[in-house]
């Protein structure tokens, strides 16, 4: 039976960052810079996302001379669906918090 655990904040951040540029390939370096994540945190997340079929990977085909081709990442259709579900559950949670008694004043 597959476990359905909510993603960690870092994984959620990576998923959201990838979904913002839907369809465009992203590099590990860019994601590290954008999300302020260390490679030691980012790569295990990317590896797991790829294992779960949420991330598509490819190698750069036109690398400049003297530089190795880079690995690129983008969400798969399943990944985009997962991000949509994540966003929806976040909205539901936020709504629940607003409806909690005694939380009316909270914005």
């Amino acid at each position: 039976m597959q476990r359905r655990r909510p993603p960690s904040p870092q994984t959620a951040a990576v998923l959201l960052a990838l979904s913002e540029t839907s369809g465009a390939w992203r590099y590990g370096y860019d994601l590290c810079q954008e999300l302020d994540l260390k490679p030691g945190t980012l790569y295990p997340i990317l590896i797991r996302l790829a294992d779960r079929g949420l991330l598509e990977t490819a190698w750069e085909t036109e690398a400049p001379a003297g530089r190795p081709p880079r690995h690129m990442y983008r969400l798969t259709a399943q990944g985009r669906k997962s991000v949509a579900e994540l966003a929806a559950s976040t909205r539901v949670k936020a709504r629940r918090i607003r409806l909690e008694p005694g939380m009316e004043g909270a914005s």
Partner: protein, 212 residues
């Protein structure tokens, strides 16, 4: 156990595994760096270190090792290259398993052996301490005080030496296990040696206490 012996064992337990493990890791890293330098003499130390470690990644994860090496090329300054390489090292050494942890260990005997060897000393130590405390309460180690020994001091020295060797075997499990984990299938025997070494020392320690 007398106080001096206890202090030595505690110090040895705290520092020896770390020192041996560090020495083993430095030695493996250095060999990898030397091998890499022969192939790519233009590469700097972070690049060589990362290349050396990622070469040991399992086949199904080797793509990610190549990705890390390619991404290192984006970092230009010495400090940022070091930071990137050092941050990637743990991932390259212990990449996330494709299956669950248990399936991963069962599917890869070398990893399972390595993990078991690494876990044995920390798991076995409280057990050995407990057994030693029980034997101490029951009656200590009168073996060396036996009147059949013509030179009790020499017997005591030999006794301490045997205990020290036993402790050495016990502590060897951790670095050997790590070394086996590091090198994968080709060095599975290192992990197996670690398991045997630690397992033997635990059994031997208990036997020594029983016969005394």
């Amino acid at each position: 156990m007398n106080n001096a012996w206890t202090t030595v064992t505690i110090l040895a337990y705290c520092f020896t595994p770390s020192a041996i493990t560090l020495a083993v890791l430095i030695s493996i890293g250095w060999r990898g760096i030397k091998a890499g330098r022969e192939v790519r003499p233009d590469m700097d130390l972070p690049g060589l270190l990362l290349a050396s470690v990622t070469r040991g990644m399992p086949q199904e994860r080797s793509e990610w090792g190549t990705a890390m090496r390619a991404e290192l090329a984006q970092f230009q300054t010495w400090s940022s290259r070091w930071r990137f390489a050092m941050s990637c090292l743990p991932v390259a050494m212990f990449p996330p398993p494709r299956e669950g942890m248990l399936q991963y260990l069962l599917a890869r005997q070398s990893s399972a052996c390595g993990a078991l060897a690494v876990m044995l000393p920390p798991l076995g130590w409280p057990f050995v301490l407990f057994a030693a405390a029980v034997f101490e309460i029951i009656g200590g180690s009168p073996y060396t005080q036996d009147s059949r020994w013509s030179n009790p001091a020499a017997a005591m020295a030999i006794w301490d030496m045997v205990k020290l060797l036993t402790m050495g075997c016990f502590l060897a499990g951790l670095p050997l296990g790590l070394a086996g984990l590091w090198r994968g299938e080709s060095r599975r025997w290192l992990s197996i040696m670690g398991i045997l070494s630690t397992g033997f020392s635990i059994v031997w320690f208990l036997l020594l206490e029983v016969i005394s």
